[in-house]
Amino acid sequence: MAPPREMTELWGMLSRPNLNLRRKQWSDSERAAFHRALRAEDSRLTVWVDPDRLMAYTYDATGERHRPDAAILLQDASQIGPVLAVARRFGCPVIGRGAGTSLSGGTTPVLGGIVLAFAQMRRVLAIDEVSRQAVVEPGLVNADFQAILAEKGLFFAPDPSSHRISTVGGNTNENSGGPHCIKYGVTTNHVLGGHCYLIDGRGRTLPTTRDWRAGLDLTGIIVGSEGTLAIVDQIEVVLTRRPPAVETLLAAFDTVESAIATVSAIIARQIVPSTLELLDRKSIQTVERFVHAGYPADAGAVLLIEIDGPEADVSAERATIEAILGEQGALSVQRAQTPEEVEALWKGRRSAYGAAAQIAGHLWIQDVTVPRPLLPEMMKTVSAIGERYGFDIMTIAHAGDGNLHPQLPYNPSDPEEVSRMREADEAILRACVALGGSITGEHGIGIDKLEQLALMYGPQERDRMAEIRQAFDPEGLLNPGKAVLPLGYRRPEETDLPPAVEPADPRLEAMREMLQGAKATVAVRGSNSQAGRSPSRAGQEELCTRSLDRLVDVDVPNLTITVESGVRADALQRTLSEQHLAIPTLPHNGRTIGGLVASNARYWGDRGLGWRDHVLAVTWLDGSGKRLRFGRKTMKNVAGYDVVKLAVGSWGTLGVLTEFTFRVRPQPKESAIAEVSGAELSTLLAVALTIRNLPTPPRGMVLSTDTGPRLWIWLEATDVHAQQHALETVLTASDLRAEWFSAAEKVPLVDAAHHEFEQAWNTGGEWLEGGVPPGDLLNDAVRDWSAADRVWVFPFSGAIEWYRPEPVPSGERLPGWVVRSYRTGQGPRVRRQSSSWVDVEDRIRTIFDPWGRFPTWEAGGDR
């Protein structure tokens, strides 16, 4: 018998000579003391420590094994704090675990430690059907959640192919995607908040991601952090109404190129399907060999296309798509007429993984994204790499997102093949980075791509990520060796080569000089319209971004646009509408894009979570003048932390935002605005909440009391008549009537009215803002407003804005929903959403502004 191995010994198959991850080995007595301490904390705890039982917690779907020191099966959240306290005392790593389906090694205890297994914590804690949101425990399996929601006509949009196994906690911590991302977005677009524990053992409420958040988007950065920042014990998520109609088509093509050309043609016709999945020739052949899905076996590619939405739109769009398929020379088109036929068309896609898995001992699943138009090129490169390294690579792709999964069958017991596979793998990653892509679209960095993160992000960005990690977890005990490398890691070639020099830009140079030489606080200003709302300091210097006025890149087939931050909203609006594109958060006014994003400006035409849903990449100058660039021109990107989220709503406290890449969407063909008045605020609000939950909700809505209670509803669709009809029905039921306007005429008027309202406090009075879960608006936004009060209510986000001509007297308590307030002659007051995050926020600010260049919020909102 082989000698027993040390428990903490690593036995990963894949060697990583460059990685210097270490942990002091425990002696037997240390380990025993640790186990005793755990048991002493909570006698109900199920703790496993024997080597054979621990084998069941050594792996995830990545194919490596590392044994933990203990596994704990959590029954409820109250057990988490004490366990973390013991872990910290002993300096022991802690690894959260959902279903262990991570494909990047997220759950493997590479340095040993405690595995916290969430599989038994799987309750749905609350469902609020009016607000369309729910709170769940992390161990809830995605498919089980969907089954509960389906009964209510709802669903949770993230649908990774592993949905039958993977948990909402895992989906959240990996920021997972799925076939329906192209239309519905990824997990982060559907997480509202929740609750978590930091390594200090303290529980904290996750700040809301809605547009009435006061502080930094910490939830946004925890989502996708692979369990390295926090242990999440509750997740609050957005629920979506099931669409009334769905159509499924399967089209075959002779080449991948013609399939992708079809995708581009569909998008060019203003259609965003809910699914655009592609299988290449080898995948089709494998699927047909093992599962006989009925896919045309001689095709070069198939596209699985699904469209959903209101009946009228779906049938119009289907006709258009069928015409496009004809024009593009599809070899064959199958259309599902029954649920069974839908299943049949999906069968090949669903079994693509399984079929590939039958070919060899193991399957290596890669996950890269490129700008969508470059997909054919990337796929060609992948097959060339396959040939070069001797692998039969089968590729499936979420073609709508430019996200491809080359699958490499290999034999894990053959060291030569494993190392050859790793080489092929790195070649694929390099190729995608060269095309401006991301090395992971949805599976995460994990342990698997730690070193390769350097292919995509330079030392500056990587070090900032490492510091963010320290801001949450100073000792680095949460899931060490995952997602981001320790501070200061350099790839060997990075230390050999001089650092890349970026071309000098005199405008940026000037800003950098100003930052480096500043004698006082530096306040960043765009159009200056929000000066009084931003944090400021007496005697500050002002840095104006208006010189940054270039439109950098308009990539229509990719549905992205890159602009500098000094560009004005109305200028960008014009460019977009020439191309029939839109960013739903973009108002019609003269504010700069930088100002809008930095202040997370709320816009009534957006029914989602605001700017955070639309910014794909951001470039900024931090307080020491370093230029940082996070995110890519790709629809999906989970490489390292989602630092882009921190920029949105950073209010000039983290740096000068200089450039953004936005995800844009085709502008639907038709639109209309309904104006409803002549009723009480409460009546209008109640009806707005009903409209909010229609199967096909409007693009946006806002309610104002400026000229008597008035509700504006913004409809957009391929065919807007059906929606107008549905809306009329709802209104009639409440004895209300709509007056109809064209969007082109009405939207600028509403925008102007809101702009004026926002400025009202400059000449006296007090302006307050905040929000509640939308379902609570009827309690919180409906009060005995005095005749002089002006109120704007946003039924989609639950935001409330309130202006009163007389400031709130100092003794009077503010309503609970207020997060910020402004009065003439005073700096803004901010109520921190939860004082428990102050330490983390301060540390994050220090990362980006080590010398305290930028003004910060003054405390004092807590009246």
């Binding site: 018998m1 082989a2 027993p4 191995r5 496993w48 024997d50 080597p51 054979d52 039982r53 084998m55 069941a56 917690y57 050594t58 792996y59 995830d60 779907a61 990545t62 194919g63 094994r65 596994a71 099966l73 279903a99 262990g100 389906t101 297994a117 599989a119 038994q120 799987r122 161990g139 399996v141 498919a143 592993s162 039958r164 196994i165 993977s166 079994s351 993984y353 399984g354 079929a355 898995a357 039958q358 001992g361 193991h362 399957l363 034999n411 894990p412 017991s413």
Partner: protein
């Protein structure tokens, strides 16, 4: 544990496991516990470590392997085609070799193992057990007693036999030990149905227990001995098919070649035997069968499909096809009808608590469907569902019936209605 290296061949099998987790939702013990230790993936990882000589303790491995129901749903769910059974048996053998007694089972289980191949004794034991249902007994005994059918069916008068076809395919009927001892009626009715469908059915007195429960109780030598006896017994007979009514036995008979991996001569004989083994439902839906009419009495029917019929024989849709052919009853399919009931050979004797946990979960789902009949096709499931109905008698008012019994009755109803319509009078279906 002795030197585990002689089991290294199984690494080929474990290497195929990508740890994707697709098997997790299919596994009854994982669904019950949500512990990776009690998941197929976890068991595979532990056996792999044992074979690689990496384990210094084995209590957890013993627990994990002994609590596996052996339903093999993980194999059907596995996209990579991992043959879990081989890994499980390797793990068990490895532990037994190292002196483990975890798989010997309780006294009751060992009694069953002893009795199974001894048909005559088993029958009298079963009859005694049926009587026990009607006398008040201590809790423990009565707990088992409810699992026995009210009548073992051996004393019922046989009804009119259809006339055998002179030319149809020859079918050797494999009675099975538990089926024969406790549910003989179902066997007889299956024979009649097959005869009516045009098969020539005959029985061999020399058959013995299939050996499944021995194999799964880590007695592979005994299982091999029984298998050899059966292979030899059926070899001389020119049967086109070897048919049975117990999903579990059928699966074992189909997998005899697995027992003789090291013995090419016997392996070949086993292959010839196994290739001919079919479940009776497969023969009834086969093209060569004469279609039979089935008429119901308005029952609401749910199916508790045999795990091994579904996961090993992979013909789980044949019973469903037959149930759909019955007119006048409502067949209520549900998502978990192929999901294990917790019976698992001797599982409900050895691991009572867990078997009950799996069963209660199943009965929750069944109760919501309000069936009046629960159809089974394996004796273990039959006993387990009787127990379930007894445990949940306030909510579930259903009769548990073997598929053969049910179909035979429906066929009789159909014949009677046919005759009546020929003679013009109305006849009520017999309940």
């Amino acid at each position: 544990m002795k030197d585990p290296s002689r089991w290294r061949w199984v690494l080929q099998e474990t290497d195929h496991c990508n740890k994707c987790g697709f098997c997790l939702p299919a596994c009854p013990t994982y669904r019950l516990t949500r512990q990776e230790l009690h998941s197929p993936r976890g068991r595979i990882a532990m056996v792999e470590a044992a074979v690689r000589g990496e384990l210094t303790t084995t209590a957890g491995l013993e627990e994990a392997l002994s609590y596996c129901v052996g339903c093999r749903a993980c194999e059907l769910a596995c996209p990579s085609g991992v043959r879990y059974e081989r890994i499980l048996e390797t793990g068990r053998s490895l532990l037994v070799e190292g002196g483990s007694t975890a798989f010997r089972g309780s006294l009751a289980a060992r009694t069953a193992l002893y009795l199974a191949p001894r048909k005559h004794t088993f029958r009298s034991f079963a009859r005694w057990g049926s009587l026990a249902r009607r006398v008040p007994l201590a809790d423990l005994v009565s707990d088992y007693a409810v699992m026995l059918p009210e009548s073992t069916g051996r004393s019922q008068p046989s009804r009119t036999m259809p006339r055998p076809s002179p030319t149809g395919p020859r079918v050797a009927f494999f009675s099975g030990c538990v089926m024969d001892a406790m549910f003989a009626e179902a066997n007889r009715m299956a024979q009649q149905l097959l005869t009516a469908a045009g098969y020539r059915v005959f029985q061999l007195p020399s058959e013995t227990c299939c050996g499944a429960i021995h194999l799964h109780s880590a007695q592979p030598a005994e299982a091999q001995r029984l298998a050899k006896a059966n292979i030899a017994a059926f070899e001389s007979e020119a049967a086109d098919w070897i048919v049975n009514t117990a999903g579990g036995c059928g699966a074992m008979l189909q997998e005899y070649p697995e027992l003789f991996a090291q013995d090419p001569a016997w392996k070949e004989r086993a292959e010839r035997f196994s290739a001919r083994v079919r479940d009776f439902s497969s023969l009834l839906v086969a093209e060569e069968a004469r279609p039979l009419g089935y008429l119901g009495d308005g029952s609401r029917v749910v199916l508790q499909n045999s795990c091994h019929l579904v996961n090993v024989q992979r013909v789980g849709d044949h019973p469903v096809q037959l149930l759909r052919q019955v007119t006048g009853n409502t067949f209520v399919p549900y998502a978990d009808q192929n999901f294990c009931c917790g019976a698992g050979g001797l599982y409900n004797i050895n691991h009572r608590e867990w078997a009950r946990g799996i069963l209660d979960d199943k009965m929750d789902k069944v109760a919501a469907l309000e069936p009046t009949k629960i159809i089974v096709n394996n004796p273990g499931c039959h006993m387990q569902m009787l127990w379930g109905v007894e445990r949940h008698k306030e909510r579930v008012h259903a009769k548990v019936e073997h598929l053969a019994t049910y179909l035979w009755q429906c066929h009789q109803n159909y014949l009677r209605a046919d005759e009546a319509s020929a003679s013009g009078s109305d006849v009520e279906a017999e309940p």
